[in-house]
């Protein structure tokens, strides 16, 4: 077998995370399988090439943090800040994700098959996030750019102080955050939503989604808006 395509297995029960990440930063293979993560932090953080990594089990904070080009699948749940500040590539969580999933991410695609808890997509800067389940309160806080798709419900405070990110939610939405409003779904939005769902491998009727974005009332500082600052 070609050594570059044969997956290398790293068992975190016997190897430290540091050794795993060092290997992933200078990869000798194109594919990796990571066993026994047991909630460890910073698993597969800082990937900067197009390798694929399959993590078998639940991970702790900042899994696939700052991913730049890697294709990382977490077969389990992810802790706080999965794929935080991702630049490019794909990160998939087959279970649920904790707080701040995809925080400040600039690019790439984050798919969470289960649900994400609070602050999903906080300060997102261009990433695409598709959540198969629901997102918790305060998701899309100060979201600057990119798209977030939620196939079930969104908690209170959705899109608080949002800038130019676009949010699509299929289910119920709690109280909207400051300066976040529902906006009409036009053809271009249905098309981009269909594309995002397809990229995530999820099947839903795009007409069931509603779109949310910035009312842009907080873009200029006025004391009349004091209640919203």
């Amino acid at each position: 077998m070609d050594p570059l395509t044969e997956a290398i297995t790293v068992d975190l029960a016997t190897q430290p995370v540091r050794a795993l990440n060092a290997e992933l930063h200078s990869p000798s293979s194109k594919a990796y399988e990571v066993l026994a993560p047991a909630g460890a932090h910073a698993v597969a953080a800082g990937i900067d090439s197009g390798i694929s990594v399959d993590v078998r089990g639940h991970v702790g904070y900042y899994a696939a943090g700052m991913n730049d080009g890697g294709v990382v699948t977490i077969h389990g749940n992810a802790g706080t800040g999965v794929a935080e500040n991702m630049m490019s590539g794909t990160v998939r969580v087959t279970g649920d994700a904790s707080q701040s999933a995809g925080a400040t991410a600039h690019g790439g695609l984050l798919v969470i098959d289960g649900s994400a808890s609070m602050r999903c997509g906080i300060s997102m800067k261009g990433v695409d996030i598709v959540v198969g389940g629901s997102v918790g309160p305060m998701s899309g806080f100060m979201a600057q750019a990119g798209r977030m798709v939620v196939c079930c419900d969104a908690g209170d405070g959705l899109g608080d102080s949002i800038y130019e990110a676009r949010l699509y939610v299929r289910g119920a939405v709690g109280a909207l955050g400051a300066d976040c409003v529902e906006k009409p779904m036009r053809d271009e939005h249905r098309a981009e939503l269909a594309e995002l769902l397809a990229a995530a491998g999820l099947e839903h009727d795009v007409t069931e989604f509603r779109r949310y974005g910035s009312a842009r009332r907080l873009y200029h500082f006025h004391s009349e808006q004091a209640g919203s600052y």
Partner: protein
């Protein structure tokens, strides 16, 4: 700023394994709180024999508590004194004998251990793995604004069979402390979390249930917190309305567990099929026996 773990067993077959499960949970939050650790165990008849009350106490150096109870055991900084009398009577007996001692736990079902040092070493000192019972919690501490002392260590157990552990930092606790002091409440430490515990205890003493007391806390306290509160009836979790401090709850038919991080839960039986979720901001989650 800390790590929290708690385990409430539903399946009595697991009671003999409580300590071993707790020890593995505690191990998962050691890094979150390297300064000190505390543990509370409910229902360990080896530590609190049936028909006895027990007082967990930090004694002054050279104190000899041997005559105060029918069973006196020491583990690190904590001494547990058990006697077949009422809880209040036993507390009075201990504090009369040693006026400078700090009672860190009392009840008919509860043993509390507190101390400074590395949590992994303390777990051995407390013989956490050897515990049995139906409920336990543990806390590892990274002290924020009060001293690293056994008194400042969690849990804060300030009412009968009650415990509170806290991850986070209250930001208006000084005023609430003054108000409680005006009502006659006495404090053992400068710790902000103790104010939370005393507040909850005063509410429970007024007849409120755990859920109501925690809702009142949410309305009164500023700051960031994940709290785990236990009583003779059960177990409750609440996070502040902004909910920055982490918390994971796992449930199966056999147990309910709560931890700051998932990795503390990996050793629990059936964790792979447990219902895992994070408590929502400001919402009280409570389980009773």
């Amino acid at each position: 700023m800390c790590g929290i773990v708690g385990l409430h067993l539903r399946d009595p077959d697991l009671y003999p394994r409580l300590g071993r499960l707790m020890a593995s949970m505690l191990d998962g939050v050691v890094e979150r709180g390297p300064d000190s650790a505390g543990v509370a165990v409910y229902g360990d008849t080896r530590r609190v024999p049936e028909g006895h009350a027990a007082v967990s106490v930090l004694l002054p150096p050279d104190a000899d508590p041997s005559g105060l109870g029918t069973q006196v055991t020491a583990a690190g900084d904590t001494t547990i004194i058990a006697a077949p009398i009422g809880v209040d009577d036993l507390v009075a007996r201990v504090t009369t004998a040693f006026p400078t001692a700090t009672v860190v736990g009392s009840g008919e079902d509860l043993a509390v251990y507190k101390g400074t040092g590395h949590p992994a070493a303390l777990a051995t000192t407390y013989d956490v793995a050897g515990a049995s019972g139906w409920q336990a919690l543990a806390h590892t501490r990274m002290a924020t604004e009060s001293a690293v002392t056994p008194e400042g260590c969690h849990p804060f157990s300030v009412g009968p069979d009650q415990c509170l552990v806290h991850n986070g930092s209250f930001s208006n606790h000084a005023t609430i402390r003054r108000e409680l002091e005006r009502e006659g409440v006495r404090f053992d430490s400068e710790n902000d979390s103790e104010v939370g515990a005393r507040f909850v205890a005063s509410r429970l003493a007024q007849g409120e249930d755990l859920e109501k007391a925690l809702l009142a806390l949410r309305e009164t306290f500023d700051g960031f917190y994940t709290l785990l509160v236990t009583s003779a009836q059960g177990f409750a979790v609440v996070r502040d309305p902004i909910a920055c401090k982490p918390a994971v709850i796992a449930e199966t038919d056999a147990w309910v567990a709560m931890a700051s991080e998932f990795r503390a839960l990996t050793g629990l039986p059936g964790i792979d099929s447990a219902r895992l979720y994070e408590p929502e901001p400001g919402k009280v989650y409570a389980w009773t026996r």
